[in-house]
């Protein structure tokens, strides 16, 4: 495990690293959206305000689109701009541009839109409880045995709700589109995770109006967490259309409140679990899960999120008889999309809460109950994929030992007897499959390009972006370490769709796992082919052979076979494992949960760069903790959160000490890392709240109001 410092840390610190809004182009004008302000309705008329020179504004609507009004997605159902019917608040009706940002804002604020309003579903719980909102598609993992239900089995049936979560990348979404009439080309600079997604989005929008679309990443990408996976396509598509019409570069940077109002969030979930557990053996014998996601107004990439969700829904348990059903529901809210974890955090929030409920009824310690049911070598996932290692159990045992779990359980029980405030400790276990689901990588065929110059400088061209996770530092490291090349002679180039092959999106914990391992393999292959010990020496002595260029394509393991219709086979070749123990302090006067310490033990395989990996886990764990304690978007009788003032992100004063340890690091493969830390912290808090207060709360997050209500109900029942 080495810790190499990031190449971009110093320029980021002194303010010279350029993010989207720091780029300036000659003649550039500002773009902004006219957004719908009803949840559902038909546009009757748009009235522009008096007192503005209309001819100075560039205005685009659906009728200006030379291509198609569809944002490319796994399900192609979301338009760039409203055609006729507004399906959610914050949908783009018009794109408008003007050289003066302030005047543009003033103009848009004064446009009046008259609607014929239609009924709308806004509350995620109401959306998910009502089966008539189902979009239509149902995915099923069927591993039933049809064994009869034994009278000795105890049934548990509960419904768990998880909230929206806002990615809250610190840099708001933004894009710059520059149309060149001469070249019939559209150049886009954008803060986005996946330059090739943006390229296909702009191509869809522009149709035959341009011959080429070039998308280049910004130097600095101010955070993403999934939020800049597909939304930049919509944003850039409309910016491109504005630039095409205005014949000028157009920059659109969303204001924070706009960003929160219209971009994708984590899907709210409703997960209904039924289990049967044998009273004698304490083994779970049968599991049935109804997994629902609120997709928002359109389906877009929700199918893929749902698929990953149901593939992680049974948790880390060996259950012989399982049936898992996944469905998407429609609401009149902006589309929900990718966010670190991609359907899995919802799944683990539910199953890990459910496991503690069964343990309680069996009067077992939650750790002991997990030990009885955890899957081990020889067991199967519900897809029939064999479990090939006991590393999840090793993580669990290590985190129990490390956190001194049993001693604390005793101490806290005793302390709680004599105090109004309460201490709590809770466990959760989880995992995350690395890379695309099933045949994803096979279909994608991710590519890389590497050049070696006459001075032995290695340049790596991949479309993976560095959004802060340190990908470009670590990817270069994986290449140069494989052949002992000096660090300063190996660099990842800024992704540009004309120069970089399509390595696939920067998502699904696949950057190090798929692209990094492919780079290391390529480095070793080049070394073998050329037969050098020292690349610099070799280049010096064979100048005529350089510059040299290499292209490689990822070839998936042929043993990975998955039937994506029936959900049978190997869904992910490698899983990363995590176990969390959280300690909390519950305040009896405010009902607030204070986080004391979060212990996390993970197996991510080989750790390429320890400092970067620990930083990733700490950040992911904190997002997971906030998912469990404070973050949600919708409140009945209030509506959706509007900005950083009412959406409660954790500050330096809200956080616990976070302990991180990696085990089984001798694995030659570096597995996925980005998402797994998101999956266990929230349920471990929920379980700690149960330990502390005695109430089981099945709706996340654990906000004081919810704990208050649950305690009131319990006290009433106890009387």
């Amino acid at each position: 495990m080495k810790s190499i410092k990031k190449f971009d840390a110093v320029p980021k610190l002194n303010g010279t690293w350029r993010y989207l809004d720091d780029y300036q182009y000659e003649g550039m004008i500002h773009g902004q959206f006219l957004l719908s302000d009803v949840h559902h309705g038909k546009i009757k008329e748009i009235i522009f305000p008096d007192g503005f020179k209309l001819e100075d504004f560039t205005i685009v609507s659906v009728s200006d689109i030379p291509g198609t009004n569809i944002v490319p997605e796994p399900v192609n159902d979301q338009p760039f701009m409203v055609d006729d019917e507004v399906m959610h608040k914050g949908q783009v009706i018009l794109g408008i541009a003007h050289p003066d940002k302030k005047l543009l804002n003033e103009f848009i604020k004064n446009i009046k839109v008259n609607y014929e309003e239609l009924p709308a579903v806004i509350d995620p719980k109401k959306c998910l409880d009502d089966e008539t909102n189902h979009f239509g598609r149902t995915d099923i993992i069927d591993h039933r045995t049809n064994a009869p239900i034994d009278p000795n089995w105890i049934k548990h049936h509960n419904v768990y709700y998880t909230p929206h979560q806002e990615q809250a990348y610190l840099e708001p979404q933004g894009t710059i589109a520059i149309y060149s009439q001469e070249k019939k080309e559209m150049f886009v600079r954008v803060t986005a995770q996946c330059p090739f997604y943006v390229k296909s989005g702009v191509e869809n929008m522009m149709g035959n109006a341009v011959d080429n679309v070039v998308v280049e990443s910004t130097e600095g990408l101010g955070g993403a967490f999934g939020g800049k996976e597909d939304f930049p396509s919509l944003l850039s598509g409309i910016a491109a259309l504005l630039s095409y019409k205005a014949h000028k570069p157009v920059k659109i940077v969303l204001e924070r409140n706009e960003d929160i109002a219209i971009t994708t969030k984590r899907h709210p979930g409703r997960i209904e679990i039924t289990t049967y557990t044998d009273k004698e053996t304490k083994r779970i014998k049968k599991l049935d899960i109804d997994y629902r996601l609120d997709a928002g107004a359109y389906q877009t990439c929700s199918t893929v999120v749902m698929s990953r969700g149901i593939l992680h829904a049974c948790g880390g348990y060996d259950i012989p008889d399982t049936y898992i059903k996944g469905r998407m529901f429609r609401s009149n809210t902006p589309v929900n999309g990718a966010f670190r974890g991609f359907g899995a955090p919802q799944a683990f929030a539910a199953i890990e809460a459910h496991i503690d409920r069964i343990a309680k009824d069996l009067e077992m310690d939650p750790y002991e109950f997990r030990k009885v049911n955890i899957f081990r070598k020889g067991a199967e996932f519900p897809t029939t994929q064999p479990v090939v290692e006991n590393n999840l159990e090793d993580c669990l045992d290590r985190v129990i030992e490390k956190s001194d779990y049993f001693k604390k359980v005793e101490e806290y029980k005793e302390w709680n007897e004599t105090h109004a405030d309460k201490k709590g400790i809770g466990i959760a276990i989880a995992y995350h499959g690395g890379g695309f689901t099933g045949n994803g990588e096979k279909n994608m065929k991710p590519k890389i390009r590497v050049t070696i110059d006459k001075d032995a400088m290695v340049k790596i061209y991949v479309s993976s972006t560095d959004m802060g996770q340190g990908a470009h530092t670590t990817l270069a490291q994986m290449f140069y370490e494989a052949i002992d090349h000096p660090r300063e002679k190996c660099w990842v180039m800024l992704p540009n769709t004309d120069k970089t092959p399509d390595s696939g999106p920067t998502a699904a914990s696949r950057t190090i796992y798929i692209i990094g391992n492919l780079l290391a393999k390529t480095a070793r292959k080049i070394k073998h082919e050329l037969g050098f010990d020292n690349l610099e020496e070799y280049v010096k002595n064979h100048q005529d052979q350089f510059p040299k260029e290499y292209f490689e394509t990822f070839i998936p393991d042929s043993s990975v076979v998955f039937d994506d219709e029936k959900y049978v086979g190997i869904a992910y070749k490698d899983y990363s494992w995590i176990t969390t123990v959280n300690e909390i302090y519950w305040h009896a006067d405010t009902y607030q949960v204070e986080l004391i310490k979060s212990w996390n033990v993970l197996d991510i395989g080989k750790v390429v760069n320890e400092k970067i990996a620990v930083g990733q886990v700490e950040g992911g764990v904190l997002q997971g903790l906030a998912y469990g304690t404070s973050e949600y978007m919708y409140k009945p009788n209030f509506g959706r959160m509007k900005g950083f003032t009412d959406y409660t992100l954790p500050t330096t004063l809200d956080i616990p000490e976070i302990d991180v340890e990696f085990i089984h690091t001798d694995n030659p493969t570096a597995k996925g890392l980005g998402e797994v830390p998101m999956n266990s912290p929230a349920p471990a808090i929920r379980n700690a709240v149960h330990f502390a207060t005695g109430v089981m709360i099945d709706e996340y997050p654990m906000i004081p109001e919810r704990i208050f209500t649950a305690l009131q109900a319990k006290n009433k029942a106890d009387v």
Partner: protein, 156 residues
Amino acid sequence: MEIKFKLNRKDVVIDVDPMKRLLDVLREDFHLMGSKEGCGEGECGACTVLLDNKPITSCTANAIHANGKEILTAEGISEEPEGKLLIKCFDEANAVQCGFCFPGFLVSSYSYLQNDGEKNLDKIKTALSGNICRCTGYQKIFEGVMMACDEKENGE
């Protein structure tokens, strides 16, 4: 209106709408892109600058507030000895991920180092509580500031 102030140790004069946001004055009129707009409502701290040695969010201040005062931005601080020390320590601790919030953290940390500088985690947490970071979980940022407190104390 003519506004005179000291910006990163230099005297400057500018003719500007006195109600223009200080953040926009810095970015648009002085091309100092270090201060970032993360929220525009004083919550996230990405636009933090020092006004007469006190950290303020420049998105909620106006040009007029700078009149006759001294402003120090992340760019200016990175030229100061203690700014250089902090940059070194943050780099060492791998505190930086996406980096968008960091010029703001640099300013708040510099202010703490100047005005207190005790290696005390609780005090550091309070000093940085106006800055939001979504990537790191803050642990490495604290480590960086603690390291800087240590090195300053020991005169390294």
